[in-house]
């Protein structure tokens, strides 16, 4: 069903806020339908299905702000929403940098960004259960050491996002996704390990085959068996794409405009400086069709774009919304992001490390003694100082080959040194979400073990 009802409702909420005394207002409405099917040991475990929607309002009275949200879109619910936001402007401080984007910043990308695929809404439940069963079955039948599983799930979502403000911006877009994952448990003697694999796409046609998902998950669980704890030592560390991606999350936090103006990032004040090795180019691009970080406009109504964050090791740009940009005397990069409530925060589009030329095998082949990290655990990254210390599991590299499984160890360093110490970047860049990285080799880090 295509209807302008919610777009009109958002514009109406903005008008009602203006009538109630707001000098400016912006309204977000989100509506979505979710479905998930979980199977375990070849039987259906959970089926979940529902739809929901909600509205968020942010107002300004002069330079004072207030915000509210509701899941009640009735007339009374909207009246309460408006009153709630207005009354909060009394308790917030006058902030000279608060406000909507400058008029020339508003915009939206034209053309099909391939964010919505109609096939997702048309899949029937029995088919989705079957897909999940096939993925789990492929894992369970791949090796006798896999006889248990945490199950498999098929999830899908279709939604609509609406944004309108008092400067005449009004826009909406639909999006969809579906995903399939499975998590088998491998066992040999006393050793028990699980791992997972998943595939996710805007439309069903974009998913990997269920059998592939199952086999990948099984291989990953199996190769973790009989892991040992190694001696504490300094060695080259290779991050496979799944763990390399988390380093991109750390870089994103460090170039986050809010962290920059508060000086709570190790990259604050380093614009134009060399912060990483020559091989490192990091891009944020919200315009790539079909990918998960793509949108026509950001959550302030500013058009999405491509921003080069780090170019051949030199820090080129922070990622900013209007507020952070004003604090820093710069222009928004179209990275405003928010849920239904509150002031806009900062999010990324498709945030990725550009690929290099070597295959992962070539990178590993050049390492006599090192650690190939397939899993990272915990929250031991301090973006203020760059201190990095996380739990890790993976495979030990001996004479250029993956030799044996390692777990219950830590890897530690400082992001300042780690980014400068990147010695090789793989050619295996793949988007399995809005943050992506190929294989990365760090010159040396401390592996903490026995």
């Amino acid at each position: 069903m295509i209807s302008n009802y919610l777009l009109e409702l958002a514009q109406d909420i903005v008008m009602r806020a203006r009538a109630a005394g707001a000098s400016d207002a912006e309204c977000t409405i989100a509506e979505g339908e979710e479905f998930s099917a979980n199977v375990r040991m070849r039987e259906v475990e959970n089926l979940k299905e529902a739809g929901s929607r909600g509205a968020g309002l942010r107002i300004l009275i002069g330079r004072h702000t207030g915000a509210s949200y509701t899941s009640d879109l009735s007339n009374d619910g909207i009246a309460h929403l408006v009153k709630s936001a207005i009354e909060l402007a009394d308790i917030t401080t006058e902030d000279p940098h608060a406000g909507l984007p400058d008029p020339e910043e508003f915009g939206t990308l034209e053309g099909d960004l391939e964010m919505y695929s109609p096939d997702v809404a048309e899949l029937d439940t029995a088919f989705k259960i079957e897909i999940a069963k096939r993925a789990e079955d492929a894992a369970l039948t791949s090796d006798p050491r896999i006889s248990n599983s945490e199950g498999a799930s098929f999830d899908n979502y279709v939604g609509r996002h609406i944004f309108a403000n008092s400067r005449e911006f009004a826009g909406e877009y639909r999006s969809s996704y579906c995903s399939l994952s499975t998590s088998p448990v491998a066992r040999e003697g006393e050793s028990m390990e699980r791992d997972y694999w998943y595939t996710m796409a805007r439309g069903f046609a974009g998913l990997e085959a269920p059998e592939h998902v199952g086999r990948m998950a099984a291989q990953r669980a199996l190769r973790r068996l009989n892991a040992v704890k190694v001696e504490t030592q300094r060695v080259p560390v290779v991050f496979e794409p799944r763990t390399a991606r988390s380093l991109l999350d750390n870089i994103f936090e460090a170039v986050h405009g809010m962290s920059i103006y508060r000086e709570e990032s190790f990259l604050a004040g380093k614009l134009g400086e060399k912060v990483a090795s020559d091989d490192v180019t990091v891009i944020d691009d919200g315009t790539l069709p079909g990918l998960f970080g793509t949108s026509p406009f950001d959550d302030e109504g500013v058009a999405s774009r491509r921003t080069v964050v780090i170019e051949r090791g030199v820090l080129k740009s922070y990622l900013m919304n209007t507020y952070a940009a004003r604090k820093l005397g710069m222009k928004t990069t179209g990275n405003a992001s928010r849920g239904l409530t509150g002031n806009a925060g900062i999010g990324h589009g498709n945030f990725f490390l550009e690929k290099g030329v070597q295959t992962p095998e070539q990178i590993i082949a050049g390492i006599p003694n090192g650690f190939y990290v397939t899993e990272l655990m915990g929250f031991g990254v301090n973006v203020v100082t760059g201190d990095y210390s996380r739990g890790a599991a993976g495979l030990w590299i001996r004479d250029g080959e993956l030799a044996f499984a390692v777990s219950e160890v830590t890897i530690a360093g400082n992001l300042n040194d780690m980014l400068r110490g990147i010695e090789a970047i793989g050619s295996d860049l793949e988007f399995r979400g809005s943050v992506a990285a190929p294989t990365i080799k760090m010159g040396e880090m401390t592996v903490g073990g026995k």
Binding site: R53, E264, M377, D387, G391
Partner: protein
């Protein structure tokens, strides 16, 4: 509070007969069990940054979740609209998990016993904003006044009032009003030329606003945050490798949450995927360790009068003198395992399926004097504050990240140490506990636990303990 006084009866006009009808629809295709979870949630938050109150937000969300269990299968649907048509539609969607004739026609809904752990007359969410905004302003001023090297302060005050109603096909009817409030302060310190360091503190619980005015004031949390930031200015590189670790009392109890708590949730054990599966009655910790999960402690962040399946919460002994004694059960697990309810079925909201979860998890006090514990260590690490933690249930490996720690050298605390992750294995780590202090302390009330994408508030606690061997993930 009784059903008739609840917002669902009083404002939305829902009757017992309505509830019985919806349960009837939910079981119209057969099924062994059904429940309804109604939720009305009001939230507010106020944030200060650069000494300006830059954000203030409030919101309302409501909905109902309908669950049907048939054998090991669960059907779930929810609606954010409390009109009878929408609730019936959700009940019919959930009903499709079963495929048999309806068995039950009549449900006698009875309100059972429950605790009264948070008798808060006026929830913080119901007070004037002018009172609450002062909390963040006071925190900002106090942190800045603590030391001239503090250059950035952020404070966030957030509260919510959750009203819930659970009705089950077994006749259970529970309503509860769950207030929750939290104040957190983050401070950044810098001294000439060096990099900044952050300190963080916060707390709260299911109490009225007076708690922040009389007991744990904004100044208390602000000073804690500022003190930690200043202390870390002189921090040296953390060591790497196995060593003796002493955990201070309170929040370091996160060790128990990660090392054993998750591994003892019954869903993982029912499926045989936990490192603790099949170890009931076995020794999994030193005999000095008794670990409890208790949802009945007054005013605590992790406490509940009834769990999210309508069962009264309990005090559950997980490990007794080192021996594994119990799992945490939700409705589905205790039916399948033929076990007794532990009051541990929790969910993030009406849009989520309940799971076995922790409430307040802590280790009982031992007999050692905490100072004696530190004196007994020739060389080691003393950790007093942590960031988050994580566990791999299946291998049992867990981590938690120390944000404030000190070297112990010759039985004395010496230099502060930079952030480091500690890693261990659940069924093994607590076997190395060689001393347990007499100073059990619960945390300040700041923890949120995530599992399968669902977040719920929890508490932890621990006395000072000495672990003879644990891997520390530093660089030195």
């Amino acid at each position: 509070m009784r059903f008739s006084e609840s917002i669902f009866a009083a404002r939305f006009g829902i009757t017992r007969q309505d509830l019985e009808n919806y349960l009837g629809e939910a079981l119209s295709q057969g099924g062994d069990y059904a429940d309804l979870y109604f939720e009305y949630l009001v939230t507010s938050s106020i944030g200060i940054d650069e000494s300006m109150v830059k954000s203030a937000a409030q919101g309302v969300s409501m909905g109902v979740g309908v669950r049907v269990i048939s054998g090991e299968r669960t059907g779930y649907a929810y609606s954010d609209d409390l009109s009878p048509e929408k609730i019936r539609k959700a009940a019919n969607v959930a009903a499709h998990i079963a495929a048999a004739p309806a068995k039950v026609e009549k449900f006698d809904l009875n309100e059972g016993r429950k605790h009264n752990l948070y008798p808060v007359l006026t929830a913080p969410t119901e007070t004037a904003f002018s009172e609450r905004v002062d909390l963040v302003k006071r925190a900002d001023r106090a942190a800045r006044a603590f030391d001239s090297r503090i250059f950035q302060v952020q404070a966030v005050y957030a509260d919510n009032l959750r009203q819930v109603l659970v009705a089950t096909s077994e006749g259970r009817l529970s309503v509860d009003r769950q207030p929750l409030a939290r104040l957190s302060v983050s401070a950044l310190a810098r001294q000439s030329g060096g990099p900044p360091q952050r300190g963080h503190a916060g707390g709260g619980g299911r109490m009225d606003l007076d708690y922040f005015l009389k007991e744990k004031t904004p100044e208390y949390f602000a000073h804690e945050a500022a003190r930690e930031a200043i202390a870390m200015l002189d921090a040296v590189e953390a060591p790497a490798g196995e060593m003796t670790v002493v955990l201070g009392p309170g929040w370091p109890g996160i060790l128990l949450h990660e090392a054993v708590g998750h591994g003892l949730e019954a869903d993982f054990n029912r499926k045989g995927v936990s490192a603790f599966s099949g170890r009931m009655g076995q020794k999994v910790a030193s005999e000095l360790c008794t670990v409890v999960d208790d949802g009945t402690i007054g005013s605590r962040r992790g406490s509940l009068n009834v769990d999210d399946e309508g069962h009264p919460t309990r005090r559950n002994v997980l490990i007794e003198n080192g021996v594994l004694r119990g799992y945490l059960q939700d409705k589905l697990s205790c039916t399948l395992l033929k076990a007794e309810s532990t009051g541990s079925g929790r969910r993030e909201s009406y849009a989520h399926i309940p799971m076995p979860r922790m409430t307040n998890t802590f280790m009982m006090a031992g007999e050692s004097d905490p100072e004696e514990i530190i004196r007994s260590v020739p060389k080691g690490l003393y950790c007093v504050n942590f960031g988050g933690g994580q566990v791999d249930i299946t291998s049992g490996n867990f981590v938690f990240s120390a944000s404030e720690s000190y070297f112990i050298e010759d039985g004395k605390l010496t230099r502060p140490v930079r952030n480091a992750t500690l890693i261990g294995n659940g069924p093994e780590a607590l076997k190395y506990v060689s001393m347990v202090g007499n100073d059990l302390r619960l945390d300040e009330g700041i923890g949120t636990c995530g599992k399968d994408g669902q977040s719920v508030p929890v508490g932890v606690g621990i006395p000072t303990i000495k672990i003879d061997k644990m891997t520390v993930g530093g660089t030195a």
